[in-house]
C-alpha cells in the first residue's frame, strides 16, 4: 500500500485537533473497524470518503462515543476521549450530524434549535445567519420537525450542529437528498464555516461536492483507512480516483 497511515507520517507536524490511532470497533459480534488511523488538522476541512459499508459512519459514531472503541486511542485537542461518555465528548466541543439526521420529530423546528444551543439563548446574529443559509427552516419555524420534507430535515440537522460555535463538526452525508440548488448553498455554508475557523470532518458520497470543498481527504475501505492526503492530489489523479472510489470525476456531473 502506497499510502502510509495518516497518524505515522504526520507526526512531525503540530498536534492535529483530532487524532485516531489504531481504533478498533466491535458492534456485538461484528468487528467493524480494524485499526483506524486518521487525523483532522485544526481549521481545515477533511473529507472522509468510501463505499457503502466502508465504516465511515462507524468511525464518526466511535469518535462521538456512541459506540465504544474496543481498543486504540482517540485524542481530541490533546485529550484522550475514547473512554468518555457521549455528553462529555459533546461538551468538549464536538458537534455531530448523524446519517439518520437524528432530528426530534415531536419537537418543532424552533425547539430543535433551542435544544442544540446548550449554553443559553442563540445569538441573534448567528440565528439570522443560519436561517439565511436555510430559509426553509424559517418558514416552518413552528412545525413539528417530523413533518418536514427529507431535505428540510437535513437542513435542520445541520443548523442544529452550528447553532453554537463548536471546535469540531462531524457531519455524515449532509448533501444526501438535497436539491442541486441546496447542495450549492450547503457547499457555501461549509466554506463559510471553514472561513470562520471551524474544523470539519465531512463524510460525503457526492464526490463532486467533496472535491470542491475538501482540504484533505481520507478514504476508507473495509474498516481501514486506505488513503489520506491533500484533496487536490486526489482530484488531479484520475487513476487513483478510479482505484479508490470506482469512478472518475467526469462521470458525475
Amino acid at each position: 500500500m502506497a499510502e502510509t497511515p495518516a497518524g505515522t507520517s504526520a507526526s512531525t507536524f503540530p498536534e492535529p485537533l483530532l487524532r485516531l490511532e489504531g481504533v478498533h470497533t466491535h458492534i456485538g459480534p461484528y468487528h467493524i473497524l480494524h485499526g483506524v488511523y486518521l487525523e483532522v488538522p485544526a481549521g481545515e476541512l477533511t473529507m472522509l470518503l468510501g463505499r457503502n459499508g466502508a465504516g465511515k459512519t462507524t468511525t464518526l459514531r466511535t469518535i462521538m462515543g456512541l459506540w465504544q472503541a474496543s481498543s486504540g486511542s482517540i485524542r481530541f485537542d490533546g485529550r484522550e476521549i475514547a473512554a468518555l461518555p457521549t455528553p462529555d465528548i459533546a461538551r468538549a466541543g464536538i458537534a455531530y450530524v448523524p446519517e439518520s439526521m437524528g432530528i426530534f420529530s415531536d419537537l418543532t423546528v424552533r425547539e430543535n434549535i433551542v435544544l442544540a444551543a446548550r449554553s443559553g439563548p442563540v445569538d441573534p446574529a448567528r440565528l439570522d445567519w443560519m436561517l439565511g443559509l436555510f430559509p426553509a427552516l424559517k418558514r416552518f419555524w413552528n412545525l413539528p420537525a417530523g413533518h418536514l420534507s427529507g431535505g428540510q430535515k437535513q437542513m435542520l440537522a445541520i443548523a442544529r450542529a452550528i447553532a453554537e460555535p463548536r471546535r469540531l463538526l462531524l457531519v455524515d452525508e449532509p448533501t444526501k437528498g438535497l436539491a442541486p440548488v441546496m447542495v450549492r448553498s450547503m457547499i457555501e455554508a461549509f466554506r463559510a464555516l471553514k472561513a470562520a475557523g471551524e474544523t470539519i470532518l465531512l463524510v460525503e458520497q457526492n464526490f463532486h461536492a467533496a472535491s470542491q470543498l475538501g482540504d484533505n481527504v481520507i478514504v476508507m475501505d473495509d474498516g481501514l483507512v486506505v488513503h489520506s492526503g491533500a484533496m487536490r492530489d486526489l482530484v488531479a489523479d484520475k487513476a487513483l480516483q478510479q482505484r479508490l472510489l470506482g469512478l472518475s470525476l467526469d462521470a458525475h456531473q
Binding site: G50, M182, L247
Partner: protein, 260 residues
C-alpha cells in the same frame, strides 16, 4: 400534454390532487397522467411536495381534494394496501424496512404479497420454495445476495437503500414509484440501481415515477420530467427542454446566470 403518446391509456392519473396542512398547501391541484412504458422524473426543490405527492398517490395520506386513478379506476378512498393490490408500488425516501427480519425475509414478504399468499393459514411458509427462490433472485440483482441473512439494522445505509429498491421490485407493480433511490449510495453502487430501473423501463409495460436530485441520473433515464414547485406543477415535458427552462435553472439548479 404528455410528450409521449398522449393517446395511450394512462396507468396512473391524478386530477387536481391537493393536500393542505393547516394553512399550508403542500400539494396544490396537481393533474398528471402517466402512461405505461414511460419513465417520468419528478424534480423540484426540497419541500416542493414530491414525497407528499407520492404519499397521496399510494394512500399514506388522504387528499383534501382531487382524485387518484389507477388504470382508470378511482382509488382515492382506498387504503394503501388496497392500492398496492391494484398495482401501485412504492419505495420510501427514508428507508422503511422490517428491521429485525432478514434481508431475504424482507424481500420474500413482498414476493408473497404479490403472490396473494398471505391468507394461507395451514400450510408452512417454507413450503413455498418458489417464493423463496424468487426473493433470492431479486437479492442477487441488487447485489445483496451475500447479505441475505443479515437484518437491515446491521446493514450500512447504502445497502439499506438497495434493499428498499429490492422490495419494490419484488412487489412487481404496474406503477413503480422511486423516491430518491440513490440517495446516500456510494458512486460505484449507483449504476447497479440505475440498471435495475433501466431494466424495468425496458420491459415496456411498466410505468415508472422517479424522484431524484441527481441531475445526471435524471438526464440518463427520464423520458419526461415533471417539475413541482411549492406544491404546484410548474413544468412538464421533454427532459432537455424542461432542464433548460428558467424555472428549473434558477429555482432548482441554482444557476442564476444560465438562460436557455
Amino acid at each position: 400534454m404528455s410528450p409521449t403518446s398522449p393517446t395511450a391509456a394512462p396507468a396512473l392519473e391524478t386530477r387536481g390532487l391537493t393536500i393542505r396542512f393547516g394553512g399550508h398547501v403542500a400539494v396544490n391541484g396537481v393533474s398528471c397522467r402517466f402512461t405505461p412504458g414511460t419513465l417520468t422524473a419528478i424534480v423540484g426543490p426540497n419541500g416542493a411536495g414530491k414525497t407528499t405527492y407520492f404519499n397521496l398517490v399510494s394512500g399514506q395520506l388522504r387528499a383534501s381534494a382531487g382524485q387518484v386513478l389507477v388504470g382508470g379506476e378511482d382509488v382515492t378512498g382506498l387504503a394503501p394496501s388496497a392500492r398496492a393490490k391494484r398495482g401501485l408500488g412504492r419505495a420510501f425516501q427514508l428507508t422503511n424496512l422490517f428491521p429485525r427480519l432478514t434481508a431475504l425475509e424482507n424481500v420474500r414478504l413482498a414476493v408473497q404479497s404479490r403472490a396473494e399468499a398471505g391468507w394461507t393459514l395451514l400450510s408452512v411458509w417454507s413450503g413455498r420454495r418458489d417464493l423463496i427462490a424468487k426473493a433470492e433472485a431479486i437479492l442477487e440483482r441488487v447485489r445483496l445476495a451475500d447479505k441475505r441473512h443479515v437484518t437491515p439494522s446491521a446493514l450500512s445505509h447504502g445497502d439499506q437503500r438497495k434493499l428498499e429498491v429490492a422490495l419494490l421490485i419484488a412487489m412487481d407493480p404496474r406503477v413503480f414509484m422511486f423516491d430518491e433511490p440513490t440517495a446516500g449510495m456510494s458512486v460505484d453502487e449507483v449504476p447497479t440501481v440505475l440498471e435495475l430501473i433501466q431494466d424495468i423501463k425496458e420491459r415496456g409495460d411498466a410505468t415508472v415515477l422517479l424522484v431524484e436530485h441527481k441531475m445526471d441520473v435524471v438526464r440518463s433515464l427520464a423520458d419526461r420530467i415533471v417539475v413541482l414547485h411549492n406544491g404546484t406543477l410548474v413544468a412538464d415535458g421533454e427532459p432537455a427542454a424542461v432542464i433548460a427552462s428558467p424555472i428549473v435553472q434558477e429555482a432548482y439548479l441554482g444557476l442564476e446566470a444560465a438562460h436557455g
